[in-house]
């Protein structure tokens, strides 16, 4: 059995699955229930000067019959008095001494930061997470993402915290920034022990087209919110990769963004995260989803021969490079498995209208399309639209002997540089003549 326990910048946890600071960690009751269910850690709903919330607070992006593919909220930090939260932190730690309880914090002045750090540590928090990410409401008051977007301010506040903190400090980063590594580096420079990312993305999830207002609606009005859920995972993975690969960041990372099963968690770990935080999936399905995540992760590790999370951490990073380092001589083309094809012809129309006119329809009475090999550029769009598992596969056509990248070609002076350069990649590629292909007369329009 692999060991899935983690030591995250000094914070110990029986497994890498933490609850993100959010409504599921609003109270001691919820966190104890989550720990009973199997969660390894929890980042408490952000503490600070309590706020007042509005109703409603959430909006959802449904994709066809899938609900909450994307999710946004306009809820702020905790609306409960600090003393209640601190008392409950203490209680949780009493019952769960080996689980990770992290206090998320967001205040304004240096004095407030000092005070709240001490309070949280006295209550027994195993670590602190500085909320520099909240993209709505709090930022209008100079907190949350207003801090996260200014690396200098961020650095300063982290250093205030480090003046008094004895427990590890995690800096939670906002994605609402041009380059997230600027903020990550500032977190390190300020003395932060770890980073977590991503917080939610500024968003409007939809518009009520009958009443002319965006969601969520508060008495006929709305505001932008923070986007999360499965839809944001690709954005989170990219930002995670950027931080994990940057030599100046070099901090443990807690990955956040759309994680809802073991596979999502594995992907985050392979890109450099050592713990993962979950919110939307729990808001959707409850704490019980953990019973799918832990055995899934263990099974994967067993099958791959990983003994610890550390062994697998960042495994995919070395294969992610800049575009200029990709092999331009690697050639693949699509192949359709006739026996599997169900004849929906989606590949045909996708290639015809959206790609390179490299798929033909047979006139032999079957609905199985065929690949026009000389037109296929190997983009693999067809294999993505195909509804049948492994019906369209991409077959390698080059001999694998040559490996020349854009960088190599640039160095060799072998790249197109003028507008009509003979070296243009698509120069001799087939493109239908529009007038002939569409049977238009050539008098033009009137």
């Amino acid at each position: 059995m692999p060991d899935i326990s983690v030591n995250f910048a000094g914070i110990r946890s029986p497994n890498p699955f933490w609850l993100a600071s959010a409504p599921p960690t609003n109270s001691g009751y919820q966190i104890m229930k989550a720990f009973d269910a199997g969660w390894g850690g929890a980042v408490w709903k952000t503490l600070g000067v309590p706020i007042v919330n509005v109703s409603s607070r959430y909006g959802s992006v449904n994709y066809r019959n899938t609900r909450m593919m994307g999710f946004n909220n306009i809820e702020l930090i905790t609306d409960r008095p600090l003393k209640d939260n601190l008392r409950e932190i203490e209680e949780v730690k009493k019952y769960f001494p080996d689980h990770a309880v992290i206090a998320s914090l967001m205040v304004e002045t240096r004095e407030q930061w000092h005070q709240i750090v001490k309070d949280a540590e006295n209550a027994g928090a195993d670590g602190l997470e500085l909320n520099f990410g909240c993209p709505h409401g709090m930022c209008e008051r100079g907190m949350g993402s207003a801090v996260g977007q200014e690396p200098e301010v961020l650095k300063l506040i982290v250093s205030w915290v480090k003046e008094v903190a004895t427990k590890p400090v995690i800096v939670k980063l906002t994605p609402n920034i041009s380059d997230i590594t600027d903020a990550a580096i500032a977190a390190r420079q300020g003395g932060g022990d770890a980073i977590s990312l991503i917080n939610t993305i500024q968003s409007i999830v939809g518009v009520d087209i009958d009443n002319f207002v965006a969601y969520p609606v508060v008495d006929g009005k709305s505001t932008n919110g923070g986007y999360c859920g499965p839809a944001v995972k690709p954005i989170a993975l990219n930002m995670l990769k950027n931080c994990a690969q940057h030599p100046d960041v070099n901090l443990p990372i807690s990955g956040i963004g759309g994680i809802e099963n073991w596979k999502d968690a594995v992907e985050f770990i392979l890109l450099g995260a050592s713990t993962v935080q979950v919110c939307t999936a729990v808001m959707h399905y409850g704490f019980g989803i953990i019973r799918e995540m832990i055995p899934g992760l263990e099974n994967y590790m067993t099958e791959k021969g990983f003994n610890t999370i550390d062994e697998m951490k960042g495994k995919a990073l070395r294969n992610i490079t800049n575009w200029e380092n990709l092999n331009l001589d690697y050639k693949i083309i699509a192949e359709i498995n006739k026996d599997k094809c169900i004849g929906c012809e989606l590949c045909y129309i996708a290639c015809e209208d959206g790609a390179h006119q490299a798929i033909g329809l047979s006139d032999n009475g079957t609905r199985v399309p065929y690949i026009i090999e000389e037109n296929c550029v190997g983009c693999n769009l067809c294999s993505l639209v195909c509804p049948v598992e492994s019906c369209i596969t991409m077959i390698r056509k080059d001999d694998g002997k040559k490996y020349e990248t854009w960088k190599d070609r640039t160095e060799a002076g072998n790249i197109p540089v003028t507008f009509n350069d003979e070296l243009a990649g698509g120069l001799h590629h087939f493109v239908p003549d529009p007038l002939t292909a569409l049977k238009k007369n050539n008098h033009g329009y009137k």
Binding site: N65, I342, C344, E345, L346
Partner: protein, 443 residues
């Protein structure tokens, strides 16, 4: 053994004849429409005789444009709601769904179609505006799927359409023939009301056109005449005992059942003679009416029967027993039916051969003869120039649906020999276009 008890009131009748394709609710429709792949040149469309743009109307359901969805359907098929419920979708649109090839349940196209049109009907949504009057008038004989569809299409092109119907209600066999578990009379008639509201054609009920004078009058008063009478009564069998009490023709029995429902008396032991879809329906319906035993007797083998396999399965699931390779020799009994005398048969080179010495009598107290509907040769002997083919089908040209008598056009069961509602709807639309071409060329 039948699982049904005799229905004694309307609600018991409805329970025994529970809808096999009940109307979807909006959640079901949303989920089901989400599954559609939006195939290119979709095979379901090619499998629908009316060529409804199925992926489009399903996408419109999914995107919340129900009005647009209903319009897409009605633009191709004026019996959009009824067809969704009564079409043999297994062998049409749903049978062609690509999901079948993946052994995934095909999209429930029929039910989605009825769902989309049901709102337009219940809210009387104005989807169509008849064309500007062109002053021309077309007479339509029969308010069945063919006649009504032809009338709607003609109205769209600006013609006056006047329908003469022999019975009291419109929709033809949709009300008087199709099994009650496929569509209720109310559903069928609501759609007819909706269509009349949209298109404003005129219907005269209990106004059958039978005599030569009637036809002459129509020829005089109208610019063209459309024949949509469907087929006639059940063919009689050439055996003795056909006139005994409790021996019925299938279409007559079914029409009776459709109108009088639980008040119709069905025997305890019923023998249905025939192997087509109507025989299956009659057998199924007898079982659901609480007959203790229903035997479906066909003179050829099970494999040779004309009915769709799913119709036979449905009959069997209602408790019907199949008896194959038996040919009726005589219906026995004094005044009332007491049994059917059969002889066993085998088929050789497509011919049925009686096996001598194998006669036996199966007792029963009711016989339903489902041996096909008669053709309309006699009725149309009143019209000059009309022709029937060897199978008794009225001859029309395949493009304009015009008969050799240029004033007369036709579509539906009378030209096909008996198909489905959807075929009548498809062909009658084309016939209306044919009438338009003919009258435009004439003037």
């Amino acid at each position: 053994m039948s699982d049904y008890t005799k229905p004694t009131n309307e609600s018991e009748f409805e329970k025994n004849f529970e809808q096999i394709k009940p109307l979807m609710n909006s959640t079901q429709a949303y989920y089901e429409s989400s599954r559609c792949l939006f195939c290119y040149d979709a095979p379901c469309v090619n499998a629908c005789p009316t060529r409804i743009d199925i992926p489009l109307f399903i996408r419109q359901i999914n995107s919340g444009n129900l009005t647009g969805s209903a319009k897409t359907i009605y633009e191709s098929n004026y019996f959009g709601y009824a067809c969704g419920k009564v079409c043999p979708t297994d062998v049409l649109c749903e049978g062609a769904c690509v999901y079948n090839l993946q052994e995934v349940k095909p999209i429930e196209i029929g039910r989605l179609q009825s769902f989309a049109t049901s709102t337009a009907i219940s809210e009387s949504k104005k989807l169509f505006i008849p064309g500007k009057s062109n002053g021309k008038k077309v007479a339509i004989i029969g308010a069945g799927p063919a006649g009504i569809s032809c009338a709607c299409e003609l109205r769209m092109m600006g013609y006056d359409a006047v329908i003469f119907e022999a019975r009291e209600k419109p929709s033809g066999l949709t009300v008087y023939g199709v099994a009650p578990y496929k569509i209720t009379n109310k559903e069928a008639l609501d759609e007819m009301d909706y269509l009349q509201g949209q298109f404003g054609f005129e219907i005269h009920f209990e106004s059958g056109i039978y005599k030569k004078e009637d036809f002459i009058r129509l020829e005089k008063e109208f610019d063209a005449v459309f024949i949509g009478t469907g087929l006639g009564k059940t063919n009689s069998l050439n055996i003795s005992g056909m006139n005994l009490e409790n021996c019925f023709g299938a279409v007559e029995f079914i029409a009776e059942l459709k109108i009088h429902q639980h008040n119709v008396k069905v025997g305890n032991k019923v023998i249905v003679l025939g192997g087509g879809n109507t025989a299956m329906d009659a057998a199924s319906e007898s079982a659901r009416m609480g007959a203790e035993k229903v035997i479906l007797a066909y003179r050829r083998s099970n494999e040779e029967k004309g009915a769709y396999e799913f119709e036979y399965d449905l009959a069997k699931s209602a408790g019907v027993k199949g008896m194959f390779n038996v040919s009726p020799v005589e219906i026995t009994g004094k005044d009332k039916v007491e049994g059917v005398k059969f002889i066993r048969t085998r088929t050789e080179n497509g011919k049925v051969i009686n096996i001598i010495g194998t006669e036996f009598t199966e007792p029963c107290d009711m016989v339903i003869v489902a041996t096909g509907q008669s053709k309309q040769e006699e009725l149309l002997s009143n019209v000059s120039g009309i022709k029937f083919d060897l199978k008794g089908r009225l001859v029309v040209d395949p493009e304009n649906y015009q008969t050799p008598n240029p004033k007369y056009f036709s579509a539906g069961d009378i030209i096909s020999g008996g198909q489905e509602v959807v075929n009548a709807a498809a062909d009658a639309k084309k016939a209306a276009r044919g009438i338009d071409r003919y009258l435009k060329n004439k003037s």
